[in-house]
Subunit: 473 residues, 2 copies
């Protein structure tokens, strides 16, 4: 337990604005994004440089503090929320936002871990390049958080997860030393690659301070369609046909269920010009960097095949940017629609794409039997096998109480279905503090033992984000 | 040091054909692919199942043996060669070759680590799918070796390195326990990902026994061209233009220098119908899974732009599969051409693509000054910044003696150039036993300390491939 005046050396190191302690200043750092947990911290540290991060790690060790790295605080699992009773200082990277370099001939970008994702995207776009990582929270999430959670998002289908975009990494380790591997190389086979352990480690192994990411040519050409799926339309077969017929130029293949669309309409208080078919709807988008690719023809031809198969009843091609924008807005405002209806309990499930139909059928049956009155909102990145399968809080019920009931009950039945299909209880969001019990329950002991070995090896004193992920294992 | 009859329990475990000890049988396992090192082993173990691998690891520990995992023994750095004096048994995965599953709707393949790469490619192709990993040695290398070395190859430009293809992994750990993570999932964010540490670890952390790989739709449509580069043609700019104009459908962008082409002609004893320009030649290929993409038009349009820029003097489009085959054969037989001329010392250099011209200029100047009589053969995966920069053994000189001279001298000057440009001394081949000294010399201590921490944590007794990579660090 730290001494009462132990924050003074941090003030000396980080300067006046570098240490926040006023309760009203701390509030936004200690409440998680979904407002499920109110954490506690003596102070928020706001370093301005890698050297300051190294210094504060050394000070924290000396004075008996733990550290919780935090980016934009937009996570869904409480991974950046300091726990009451742990004497954890929040390390906010929000003042380390520099775009360090954009190399248009090497297609790479280097930046501080505190850079906001949208700013990094903009720096790439300014040179006619694309940083394909794209999330709902891109205007406020920071790259360090994206790295810590191996963020997915809207373009995984074509470009992969955050890990797939990383070429270089810079990490302040638990002893305050610096691991710097910021090379802009696509190939660098020099044995075991230490940077991989920090990606997805949720800040439990070190504090990521910088990253080098792959870029692509800007995708200036697009073709977008809204597909109304027929009764019983087989999503895996549709996704496979789309991959093949579009030559993998599809960047988006998002399922939108009728119930999710209805939630958006209710929030707007007006009917929506687009509708789902009996099998729901799909937002499909192709992108290319060159006008030489006849995207509209490719999309039309693909849709014709899907209709010939009887899988798609009707399809609308976006004829203008406004129409395209409307399709996207519907998809992007589903979470708000859920919030407007009273909030939702969010399952973040993945299964192999080939088992999607099985999951939806089995999950649907289970819910119809056990919770017939609860509205289900499901949507998501079907091209990756990732379904957001959310239960809307029934009118009049308390959101937290409902969440606890679902969490302790039917959620486990849904996870059991997903796992039996070779799936996962956590596709995108990670473990943090809210899913520790799920990690313990649904992953095998050898995996957890390996994770613990890595933790002990890299952070033997448990300075880094203690309590997250493995908890006390 | 093991007792003399300590191999008996291995025979009981693995059966008659499972333990080879006759010197003439051992020879092909103990000589490295490039014939630079003759290793030594008491026996080669040939397990048939994961359980047998677990059993032999436990026996090895009990009887004081080390283990050297081996796939196709096609590596370039002695990573699979047992060292004299270490009492290391070779664990050959050559009897674990099963293709476990191909899922055409999920675009995944699962197989044993002993599967030959070409067999895995064929299993995918049989279902109209593509496993894009493609190497010169694909007819004999095995996937466990590809994983251990994070193999690159001919299609990294579009599909990435081996790591980028891995979804699942199965590893027998140093204590004989099994880490099995063979899920076919594109998204599974459940914290620190232990499987990443085994990829590229060259068998020093465990024995990979199985893998799940991403597949793509078969690329049934191709367009291929041979480009003659103009004097001073800027490779980085050309590569960037090609990426953009072909919408990243380029799978191959291989530089072939005039000297490399000459070596192939000499080996054939006949002139070659294709020639390089003053800046060398590039083999460029686009691929697509759909006839809806007008690949010939895309390629033609791109070539026109390159010629308008004055970067390409002339270009030949392959008009038939035979012509395409001939272009590829030239590229693929450069290593044989070098061998025919007396062998070569191979530098496996990477730089950021944007620094390629700088590297070639500086390297060329250095060689012209210091080794004016030595033939340089350079070629390779320019789209990835990876140049094979090889010095042909001069007529009449002993290959090994020449190699030692280069290795101790000018090689370091070339590495210094590459490193100053943000590059690497090892793009593809890895460290193994031949580049241990380079690893120690050219990587920073924090990186090596992290690698050693991982080694100690996962293999505290040094059972797994001791001597490879970190050596005695």
């Amino acid at each position: 337990m730290p001494e009462p005046d132990a924050l003074e050396p941090f003030r000396t190191l980080l300067g006046a604005g570098g240490v926040l302690t006023a309760p009203d200043m701390l509030a936004r750092y200690t409440l998680d994004h979904r407002e499920l947990m109110r954490g506690e911290t003596p102070a928020v540290l706001r370093p301005r440089s890698v050297e300051e991060v190294q210094g504060l790690v050394r000070l924290a060790r000396r004075h008996g503090y733990g550290l919780v790295p935090q980016g934009g605080n937009t996570g869904y699992v409480g991974g950046a929320t300091p726990e009451p009773g742990r004497h954890q200082l929040v390390v906010s990277l929000e003042r380390m936002t520099r775009i360090r370099a954009v190399d248009p001939l090497n297609f790479t970008l280097a930046c501080d871990a505190g850079a906001i994702l949208a700013d990094a995207q903009a720096a790439a776009a300014a040179q006619d390049l694309l940083l394909p990582l794209s999330l709902g929270s891109e205007g406020s999430c920071r790259l360090g958080g994206n790295l810590g959670t191996n963020a997915g998002g809207l373009q995984v289908l074509r470009y992969g997860m955050t890990r797939d975009l990383v070429l270089g990494l810079e990490v302040v380790l638990a002893d305050g030393s610096l691991f710097s591997d910021m090379r802009h190389l696509r190939k660098n086979n020099i044995g075991t690659d230490p940077k991989q352990v920090f990606i997805g480690a949720e800040g439990t192994l070190g504090i990521v301070t910088g990253v080098v990411l792959k870029l692509w040519p800007a995708q200036g050409f697009r073709a977008t369609a809204w597909l109304q799926l027929a009764e019983g339309a087989p999503l895996p077969e549709i996704a496979a046909l789309v991959r093949r017929e579009t030559a993998d130029l599809a960047t988006t293949f998002e399922l939108i269920s009728a119930s999710s669309l209805a939630l958006v309409a209710e929030m707007r208080g007006a009917p929506i010009g687009l509708r789902t078919g009996p099998g729901g709807a799909v937002l499909l988008e192709l992108q290319a960097s060159s006008a030489r690719i006849p995207l509209d023809d490719v999309l039309m031809g693909t849709l014709e095949l899907l209709m010939e198969q009887g899988w798609v009843e009707d399809a609308i091609l976006a004829q203008s940017e406004a129409q395209r924008r409307e399709m996207w807005t519907i998809r992007e405002t589903i979470p708000e629609g859920e919030k407007h209806a009273g909030g939702s309990f969010k399952h973040d499930i993945a299964v192999p794409v080939s088992r999607l139909t099985d999951f939806l059928e089995q999950g649907g049956r289970l819910l119809a039997e056990r919770l017939p009155a609860v509205r289900l909102s499901f949507y998501g990145h079907v091209g990756d096998g990732n379904i957001h399968y959310n239960l809307v809080v029934p009118k009049g019920q308390d959101r937290l109480a409902f969440s606890r009931t679902v969490e302790a009950g039917i959620a486990h039945d849904l996870y059991a279905i997903a796992l039996a299909l070779g799936g996962s209880f956590s596709a995108e969001y990670g473990i943090g503090r809210f899913k520790r019990d799920l990690l313990a329950r649904y992953t095998d002991p050898t995996r957890r033992a390996l994770m613990a070995t890595l933790k002990r090896g890299l952070d033997p004193d448990g300075v880094m984000n203690a309590g997250a992920m493995l908890g006390e294992e």
